[in-house]
Symmetry: C2
Subunit: 278 residues, 2 copies
């Protein structure tokens, strides 16, 4: 990456408008996951469709992405609809499709004009040493998307995953510093993707890799564009946990904190898992 080359994240989430208003993008090898592109880039690409639309008003406050089917390598299309524009809020609906797959993902996105108000943050970040004090998780030779992030675990770094699950469940809670690799100034797109970088909680709890897939993910943004811009490319402190694993589905909760202790985003997802060992 030179000073003039685009960051691989911007390549992965790039869209071009066709004459019919449909947007076209393509999957990126740089963010390839096990059976498709990393879901964080898919979510960010759907958000980019809105953010680059000429009628977009305000900053995003929420995005829900449903992962309907694995996206195949190659080109995809995004059809975007403006659902409603009010005085201070705006709603969008987007569908990502491929001819050979059909609809692979859809999203609802809300934007809003954010103005100064009374403010209060009851939540607090967990204590953590400075990211410079911690070694990054080695990701060489692992799936491509893992190499596009630096993971510096503060709490509950995954051990070497076993072939069979632990008989006793381990903790689902992780604290870690997260950053793009190479570094990239924070914006809504990268924040959306960062919310999906947490390993499935069941990997931590079972100590083993079991088949999983995110069905739906929702992220709320608690800062405006200027607030994210002020973070620059500093690492974010991430917190992830789960409350329940039952009948093939588990929740996953996420907080993303700036180094100075501002909660930038909260996110939650519902994750399919295959683990018949019960």
């Amino acid at each position: 990456v030179t000073d003039t080359a685009p960051h691989p994240f911007d390549v992965a989430t790039r869209l071009q408008a066709n004459s019919d208003g449909v947007l076209r993008g393509a999957t990126s090898e740089a963010y390839w996951n096990f059976t498709g592109p990393f879901g964080g880039t898919t979510a960010a690409t759907l958000l980019r469709a809105v953010l680059e639309h000429e009628k977009r008003a305000g900053d995003p406050v929420s995005i829900t992405v449903n992962f309907c089917a694995p996206i195949a390598r190659g080109d995809f299309q995004i059809a975007l609809r403006e659902i409603r524009t009010n005085r201070s809020t705006q709603h969008w609906y987007a569908e990502l499709s491929q001819p050979e797959v059909g609809i692979a993902a859809n999203a609802t996105i809300a934007c809003a004009a954010r103005r100064e108000t009374w403010a209060h943050q009851p939540a607090r970040p967990p204590p953590a040493p400075a990211p410079e004090m911690l070694a990054a998780l080695p990701t060489q030779g692992m799936m491509a998307w893992l190499q596009r992030y630096e993971f510096r675990f503060v709490h509950n770094q995954p051990k070497r995953f076993a072939a069979t699950p632990n008989p006793q469940p381990d903790s689902a809670l992780s604290h870690l510093w997260l950053s793009d690799a190479p570094p990239r100034p924070l914006d809504f797109l990268s924040l959306t993707a960062l919310a999906d970088t947490f390993f499935a909680r069941i990997f931590h709890v079972r100590g083993a890799l079991v088949p999983i897939g995110t069905v739906s993910m929702t992220t709320y943004f608690h800062a405006d564009a200027a607030g994210l811009s002020a973070v620059g490319s500093a690492p974010l402190l991430g917190v992830s946990d789960a409350k329940v694993f039952n009948k093939g589905y588990a929740d996953q909760t996420v907080e993303l904190w700036s180094r100075d202790g501002s909660l930038l985003a909260t996110s939650t997802q519902i994750v399919y898992f295959r683990d018949p060992a019960g």
Copy 2:
């Protein structure tokens, strides 16, 4: 309500299919809120559209509802699209509209076949006395929808709201027993509505009623239909909190627990507030 009359909740969420496949419903005075119907019944009505569809497969695992505009008194339509049906998951998109309003709400809903798996519930319900030991919040003379629920606060019962906000923020956390009034056996519809019965966190924190509105709400279901049916009409223990209020928007988190300590649903919403006092 006699043994044969439908419960007011079922009247409020009732839908009829037109010959063109569009569903028709109507707002209910019994669940009227300040400027429109209670959002919980709107969310439940959108879910009902899916659950009553002949092609629906499995139980709902997630629903996201976006509240795009106030729904006017009277009739509305729901247009429902099957987005994708996989072997064990199914995705839907629904839009609620009125001729004079346009699109007032939309929703994405995922269903799934739920099978026995390894199960684990790291989260625990807060300690609470039995609901029979607690008085219900008086709701006579208040907004209609409040009278359709019994609220038995365990922790942080709202005081009489002041005309001006507290100078110092109070806690955003509430624990309370919740039930339909009159009682109604639990199902996915009522559980969806119950997730929206929590007072806006800012009312608790500021000790005052400020203008608010939910922009988007997401609920995950952690039990299947049989699991909900086993609860019957027993009260649920609800937990609600907020992490951050900033620039006109706040998050709100919800847990809904059965009396025997099973986490039935988790929910989150992003709420607009007007409070320029900062």
